[in-house]
Amino acid sequence: MSIVFEKPHALTDAALHYCPGCTHGIIHRLVAEAIDDLKIEGKTVGVAPVGCAVMAYNYFACDMVEAAHGRAPAVATGLKRAMPDNIIFTYQGDGDLASIGMAETVHAATRNENITVIFVNNAIYGMTGGQMAPTSLPGQVTQTSPYGRDVNVCGYPIKICELLSNLDGPEYLERVAVNNVKNVKNAKRAIKKAFENQINKKGFSLIEVISSCPTNWGMTPDQALAWIDEKMIPYYPLGVYKDKSAQKDSEVKA
């Protein structure tokens, strides 16, 4: 009998600590598959965030660094400058990347730092028990927005891909989701491209992955996946927000 499906080599045997129905597991797998496909595990260094994915350093089989909250792009900058031939990626949540680490995110992007950023947007602080995130939707009920996010008090959610797409620096920005098979396959393609861009020294690639948090959204896993279609994607449209190389190619053709 031949093996038709197995755990990617770039994942360790450690049991994931994520809640049932959480899509972090899928995203970990997609990152690991990309690392396997491109045969870069031996030269890859990942940077884990503070948040639900803090222990990602136990799950990825490549060398790993755990960064202070929000500082992963700065840590990755240091790693990449020290080892330009290695492959450096960060794996960050919405609080980490879009709130406390916004300066590091914007500046790594504008420098077109040749790194790969996996941005997991589940519109909530999961690790600390479900507080309002910079990406929580208007009206979304969380522990710290118990009457729903009031945009007059807390402002509006931050759309990272749209925001960064205004910069001249970044090479590639795409938003994907992992709530159904079609979206997962598309996310896989995008994540792989983000690593290929780095291998080809193209620069800063960020993939925003719309993810679910059934525990803190107060839903079953099924309901949470449906909520992504109903609420998240309409606010955070999927697609490519910047692709400098494609832009250049089309300019050449024109």
Partner: protein, 355 residues
């Protein structure tokens, strides 16, 4: 560079760092240390090094954390308010047992304070500065020559003990010019097999991490780190003793305060008073033994500081409160004059005579 050349203290640090093999500098502009960044910005691109002006002091120290994780010599520099911003990152670097050099060219505080010289970050430098149980080795240069020498020394100590090292200078040390000679230097041969350079599919993955949710394990890692600190305290404390053998009054002073105090000591000696000075070169570990020895004979100590009195606590602890310790200080960017120190010496000499 083996000839003596005239350099600014800040430039001496930068040049010494380059000669010590540091090829990565990250910083954010702040007076009075910006010459370090300016020097690095000029030199690093010429020697295939990295100079990067970070978006903040916070980002800079985390870039340092990244390079240190890769096992390469790396530094940042700042001045007091900027060091406060870096303190979280320094705690992480200590918690991950990573080597790095941090330079603090101090200015008056608290808050935004001023831009004139100060020594009021002594507590911050010698007690860790950030959260958690940790120390940095704190080196206090008192000349431009020492700005260079202690930079070499700092990188070595950082690598040997896998710890952040801080050069605690002040605005005077950074800005003044003196002749300096770079030493012939060979870096120690240090195995950095803990670094995250990629597994090359030849080993288990390395992890640089300070998170430890199991309190028993976290306790063990703290005790282990303090074993290392014990060795550092035993082996690395450094000071300069000046005329302490027969001294009745011993001055404690570092950096620019020691330069000023030496003049006062000489003047007092000329007047027939037996005065000496201990100048700590390492502020942490504090050179306790020298003070303990001096306390056998001395009747009193004077801590001369550009602060409201911070090192005075370590002096009192070192002499175990057996002898009185007096403070002679200026703050807010002011520097004591030799006359002020001499007046304090005379005051204390008269006090002990009248007893």
């Amino acid at each position: 560079m083996t000839d003596k050349v005239l350099m600014k203290g800040n430039e001496a640090i930068a040049e010494a760092a380059i000669q010590a093999g540091c090829r990565f500098y990250f910083g954010y502009p702040i007076t009075p240390q910006t010459e370090i960044a300016a020097y690095m910005a000029k030199r690093m691109p010429k020697i295939s090094g990295t100079f990067l002006q970070a978006e903040s002091e916070i980002a800079a120290i985390n870039m340092v954390y990244g390079v240190a994780s890769a096992g390469k010599r790396v530094m940042t520099s700042s001045s007091s308010p900027g060091i406060s911003l870096k303190s979280e990152g320094i705690s992480y670097i200590a918690g991950c047992d990573l080597p790095a050099l941090i330079v603090n060219v101090q200015r008056g505080g608290p808050g935004l304070g001023g831009i004139q010289p100060s020594q009021s970050d002594y507590f911050q430098a010698t007690r860790g500065g950030g959260h958690g149980d940790y120390h940095v080795i704190a080196l206090a240069p008192a000349s431009v020559q020492e700005m260079a020498d202690l930079t070499f020394k700092g990188f070595d100590l950082a690598d040997i003990y896998r710890t952040p090292v801080m050069i605690l200078a002040d605005g005077t040390m950074g800005q003044m010019m003196e002749p300096v000679k770079m030493k012939d230097y060979t870096p120690p041969d240090i195995n950095k097999d803990w670094a995250v350079t990629g597994t090359k599919m030849m080993r288990e993955h390395n992890i640089i991490n300070s998170l430890c949710l199991d309190p028993e394990s976290l306790e063990i890692s703290n005790f282990k780190r303090y074993e290392k600190y014990k060795t550092i305290c035993e082996k690395e404390a450094m000071c300069e003793e000046y005329l302490t053998n027969d001294a009745d009054i011993v001055i404690a002073a570092f950096g620019i305060a020691a330069r000023v105090s030496k003049n006062a000591v000489n003047e007092a000696r000329a007047n027939g008073l037996k005065v000496g000075m201990i100048r700590p070169i390492t502020l942490w570990p504090f050179p306790k033994d020298a003070f303990e020895r001096a306390a056998e004979k001395a009747k009193a100590f004077i801590s001369v500081e550009l602060s409201m009195g911070q090192m005075i606590e370590d002096v009192s602890l070192a002499v175990r409160c057996r002898k009185p310790v007096y403070l002679c200080n200026r703050a807010g960017g002011m520097i004591p004059s030799p006359e002020q120190v001499l007046a304090k010496i005379n005051e204390i000499a008269n006090m002990s005579n009248s007893k």
